[in-house]
Point group: C2
Chain length 338, copies 2
């Protein structure tokens, strides 16, 4: 066991794109578990777009990370010491212990990971928070019906890729939007999407319209910006829009130039009777068991597949995170910490 | 029976505010009912904001009125001749026969009006389309819970006034927005709203915030524009926004100046998990019986009250309609035709 706990803290709040100066690698002592606590050794750290929100002081659904505090994040960790009878050394668990090598926990917010069922990293991806985000948002708000068209952006990522695959399982047509021909080929050839549109292409609105000849019934929103502008004219009457993320705007420092197009959106909502609804995965915590059961079965049966983008070393987490916000990852971004 | 059928047709499509030149009063022969048809004599004509949409060629949930065609509208009419065994001379019905003295109907889209149950004009207001709009949108999408705060604009109108009263019946706090002190006093003193805010006052955002110390849980949207801007910052987590109308923008000829505030709305939807949903009353046609039963009972029991603004003479319908879009009516606007 290492004697040192490395941790990455928020050094400064970014204005616009984060860069390495906003993070700082610190070293400290490995904490000692007290009565009832366990010591967790981080094995894998999940990197997710929501973390950009936690770096800002703006009001959101969760408190911001304080300056000098460890960056927030979910990990798969191994219990390396235990004063809690519920956990034994060697157990694998998920924990929200952040960007660091070690943490102590009273054991209450831990979730067991069984490596015999699936690779442990899936607890951070297809069988974890991103997967449950896709499952709950698509099925509870999106409610795709057979023959309908479901569109999702960031479709090669852990949320989008599962949205499209579940849409297909439910009998809908899945159209994915992703950056670059390699990701688009992956969507079509490996995930079975009915169509894929490269948002870096010259004419996104035209390409999307061509990929959706019957319009769009469900748009799973996780990017916003130019993609949403291309989607809006194609939304059918009674279309559903689960609003899960707006990553295209997370680094924005000012609003887009005018005119103010809010009335265009509101008029579309009214005349086409659109249903827009924001959510975060914890709003649907009561669906966790159903999610694990159903997606676990699909995974086992080969009806759902996933892709991971593994980065080596905690010290490389900031650069990997910065790249993710630019779409440089290909699949679920995970840092192997130990 | 008059020998002449007066009808008001769309003379030209307005760009911006309608004025009298966009309407034309024509005279023609009273149509003769054929086999299976009835002749309807218009008694009262309902004037409603949605008609502004029908004057425009822009795509919406209904076809526009053609140039030279009779303006669309619902009426209470009396059967004055009948070749249909289901209807007798003297029967009162509602019909979508438009801004004219007479019309023939095959009887299929008629709804009987029983003057013994309530004044016939209520079939165009509290017990008609506006009432059902309030009932279905508020209860199905808004879903107010006891203790929650419900805000509605155009609150002295037929939709808004019922929204507030139903909110109160359901145990919620009702806050109405209306134009001028007289309407605000009516909301508080006669309809029992918990608070009323004058949108013509100097500081609408401040006044609304003061009237909603616990934020807003349901905002019944029928105006848009500056009112929605004042509402948005006050919406609580998980607030519901039935989008029923956007009358503040119906006469707009261009979008408001920039910046584009769409991302502000989308971010609010995401982080506060708002639920915005457009609807028109016909989407909830299956609730017609429940609406009539429940609101009818509230009306009879004095738990719901209403106000009408009666204009005399079909020839005055255009001016009354133009005034309604400016908020000049006070209560449900109805034209007494005969």
């Amino acid at each position: 066991m290492a004697e040192i706990n490395r941790r990455i803290v928020l050094a400064a709040r970014p204005h616009g794109e984060p860069n390495p100066s906003h993070f700082r690698l610190e070293e400290g002592r490995v904490p000692a578990p007290r009565e009832g606590e366990v010591l967790l050794r981080t094995r894998w750290l999940s990197l997710d777009p929501y973390m950009r929100g936690r770096m800002s002081a703006a009001k959101s659904y969760a408190e911001p990370v304080g300056i000098g505090e460890v960056m927030t994040g979910e990990v798969v960790a191994e219990v390396t010491a235990s004063n809690n009878p519920a956990y034994q050394v060697g157990d694998l668990v998920t924990a929200f212990s952040g960007w660091q090598d070690y943490a102590v926990s009273a054991g209450k917010a831990l979730r067991r990971v069984d490596p015999a069922l699936a690779p442990p990293t899936t607890a951070l991806g297809v069988l974890g928070m991103p997967g449950m985000t896709a499952y709950t948002g698509l099925l509870t708000i999106g409610q795709p019906k057979p023959g309908e068209t479901v569109v999702v952006a960031a479709a090669a990522g852990p949320v989008g890729s599962l949205v499209g695959q579940i849409a297909r399982i439910r009998g809908a047509r899945a159209v994915g939007i992703a950056g670059g021909p390699e990701k688009c080929a992956y969507l079509r050839d490996e995930l079975g999407f009915d169509a894929a549109v490269d948002h870096r292409g010259e004419d996104l609105p035209g390409a999307l319209a061509a990929a959706c000849p019957n319009g769009i019934d469900v748009y799973f929103e996780n990017v916003g910006g130019a993609v949403f502008e291309a989607v809006l004219p194609l939304l059918n009457d009674f279309a559903r829009v689960p609003v899960c993320g707006l990553v295209a705007g997370y680094n924005a420092t000012e609003l887009p130039p005018g005119p103010d197009r809010t009335p265009v959106l509101m008029r579309a909502i009214l005349t086409r009777r659109l249903h827009l609804q924001g959510f975060i995965v914890w709003d649907f915590a009561d669906q966790a068991a159903a999610f694990g059961r159903e997606v676990g079965a699909w995974l086992k049966a080969g009806r759902v597949t996933y892709r991971e983008d593994i980065v080596e070393g905690l010290e490389n987490a900031p650069e990997a995170f910065i790249g993710m916000l630019q779409g440089r990852n290909f699949g679920k971004l995970v840092v192997r910490v130990a």
